[in-house]
Symmetry: C2
Subunit: 278 residues, 2 copies
């Protein structure tokens, strides 16, 4: 269907947003809109400018016969700080305190638009890591893992504690839960992760890191590599963590059950590594 | 920041897509872009036209002091048929067959962009049902439930079989699994669903309907009502189903383990009720 520039801009914006990390040949658009490639290039220039100035992402152009344009979701440092700071404040609400010093987090995890935003942050941080798949642990890691995966355009592998008959042959490993020092089992369906994948591990919470460490071992069982590790919240842990290289959005630094206070600060995303460089 | 029309169209399109079922006052845009309301209205007219002709959704306008514009994701019958038919074909792959006549579904459930598309279909079908929350059962219903909820702009409540200490006080009910005739328990955190909510129940699979029936009972325990029930796949079941009013996208009509054949057809979404009327 033939469109004027204004119509093309709306439709192309929608198409880019629905297809992140997906290389699109210019001919796709020029045929779709019956427009010259030069007009399409101008349209893309306008979209790229708005995407970059409005912190939506960027559009990369690859030249040549196999070339095309790719929308990459990005979030800059300032916007990330705003989102993380507002999350920290929300997590410090003393009504979250549960017996044993646990925090109620389901309202955060159950909020799709918040989780989409946090998923964008991880997708932006790991945008150059050539991620092939996202792995997470059932149940509470799943929403964030999907939010990350949908912005990276990769599939999700869900690891479970129990073994289900509806998953076919599975790969199981034992691991030691770091904080409880208990031996547990985790498993993943054999066909749920392609061998030789580069896997981004995402979870909602990390204390000693035993579960994450287990997922890293599971990745090896699939002849695959770990592209990175991202957690929504890490808790301070007296002993050395079992995982050294990870990215956290927030850090639970103190829980006082008697005084009913919770202290949550920015995670290590803002330190050291260059997650905000392009 | 002041923008020309082309820039506004790109940014507003992104904003609408990120905020479905969310009423936005015109002043929000006119202040954001330092533009006259009349120009903003024209912009919205262009976006609405493209959204409708391209099957992205529609933009509804409410007049008056409390008025504004709302983006409603919709999918028409033709596009729904195409998506569902392609899913049926994918599900008929005999390699899915597992011992006991079960089907491997994790590749479908683990594909975020496919699940987003299926979630849009349910969000479109139930767009006028005044849904306040989406409820699902851990683990495999979660991805689809989030996809639906994010297009309806509502929170998700995750029901579980086990009881976790990190959820605070919970509400548990017993229910009879319809196909296995076994008494089981399901529970939901007390604060994970507001009383007097209108709840859309979403799950990946329904056979006799025992799990769905249990979730419906759980909804009542929260003084809430059931807005509707949506399942990705229903299986033919010899006896009467425990749930009469539900919407299925696909229907597993036959599994022959010996011949290694699977027959999957369109679900009841296309029958009777007017899920495609606006």
């Amino acid at each position: 269907m033939k469109y004027r520039r204004s119509g093309r801009l709306v439709d192309m914006t929608n198409y880019f947003l629905a297809h992140p990390h997906h290389q699109i040949p210019l001919t796709y658009f020029s045929e779709k809109y019956e427009s010259a490639k030069s007009s399409i290039s101008e349209d893309i220039g306008i979209i790229k400018e708005v995407f970059e100035s409005k912190n939506i992402g960027t559009i990369e152009t690859a030249a040549g016969a196999t070339g095309g344009v790719t929308y990459i979701p990005t979030v800059d440092r300032l916007q990330t700080e705003e989102q993380v700071d507002s999350l920290c404040e929300r997590l410090e609400d003393p009504n979250r305190l549960l017996p044993g010093g646990y925090l109620y987090m389901m309202d955060v995890i159950g909020d799709p638009s918040l989780i989409q935003g946090l998923g964008r942050i991880f997708a932006s941080s790991f945008r150059n890591s050539e991620v092939d798949a996202v792995m997470t642990m059932a149940t509470k890691g799943i929403p964030l893992a999907y939010a990350v995966a949908s912005h990276l355009n990769v599939p999700v592998s869900i690891v479970r504690h129990e073994h289900r008959i509806t998953e076919g042959s599975i790969v199981s490993i034992n691991y030691v839960s770091g904080s409880k020092k208990r031996i547990q089992t985790m498993s993943l369906a054999r066909r749920s992760l392609k061998p030789y994948s580069n896997v981004l591990i995402i979870d909602d919470f990390m204390k000693a890191g035993g579960t994450i460490r287990g997922m890293m071992d599971l990745v090896s069982e699939f002849q695959s590599t770990v592209a990175g590790v991202g957690v929504l919240t890490e808790a301070v842990h007296e002993e050395e963590k079992l995982v050294s290289d990870y990215v956290s959005l927030t850090r639970l630094s103190q829980v006082d059950e008697r005084e009913r206070t919770i202290k949550v600060e920015r995670g290590n995303l803002f330190q050291g590594k260059y997650y905000f460089e392009s």
